[in-house]
């Protein structure tokens, strides 16, 4: 049952980013073909950081593992990148950029949608 997981939280500060990526990995392990969509501060999870703050797991490493779990649909909202002045080629991962106006259409393609 394909599931879209929307990630809206910054990578560090709280554990929410890690906990939501964990859900994506578990759904993939159960062959539910999850896709992930980064919006708002969530796009910062894709910004390469050499080191994670103490007491946090490195979010970049988890994101790099997405592909290994066959999570190949990684979407990023264009407007959110713009807010933070991030260009798509600066991201740590190959992603598909999507305009805000197309998000509803994207959601409609999935049976389930979890927003973190």
């Amino acid at each position: 049952m394909p599931c879209l997981i929307t990630l809206t939280h910054a990578p560090y500060g709280t554990k929410v980013a890690k906990e939501s990526l964990d859900i994506a990995l578990v759904l993939a392990a159960f062959e539910q073909q999850p896709a992930v969509l980064f919006v708002d501060e969530g796009v910062l999870q894709l910004f390469p950081t050499p080191q994670s703050p103490t007491s946090h797991k490195h979010i970049g490493k988890i994101i790099n593992a997405l592909e290994m779990y066959d999570i190949n649909e990684i979407w990023v909202e264009q407007e959110s990148l713009d807010v933070f002045g991030i260009a798509v080629d600066e991201l740590s991962q190959a992603v598909t950029v999507i305009a805000r106006s197309k998000i509803a259409h994207l959601c409609a393609q999935y049976d389930q949608h979890l927003v973190f």
Binding site: M1, C3, E19, D22, I23, V26, F30, Q32, Q112, L114
Partner: protein
Amino acid sequence: MSDLSILKSPGITSNPLTYTVLVRSGPDLQSQALSAYLFTKELLLQGHQVLRVFFYQQGVYLASNLRVVPQDELNVTVLWQQLSLDHGLELGVCIAGALCSGIVDEQESSRYELGGNNLADQFTLMGLGQLAAASADSDRLVSFGA
């Protein structure tokens, strides 16, 4: 609890579905935690099937039996326990999140030699995989809390 009785059920549905409910808000967000409970209760009253309620993130705090709430507030933990007893509802708690948050059952307490346990009756510690499995078998996955 009398104020909850105004939410009358419209009756048994002719189109029962299977649901998984994900609870991600804890006691701090009382109204969201309560919404998840009321929604689940209504599903059961209308004849839908709830495969599992899964408590994750802040939601794990609802599984502690050491919470004491002010007399004029609802104890959502007790509400969930009663709903579980009434309907044989499975209440699963993310084991990794629970252990991190100091919610342990007897088994984990002895495994880590913690000297006490506080998982409320009717709640069960389980892995995230049990959420994935339930959602795969459900028509709907409904998430509460942010």
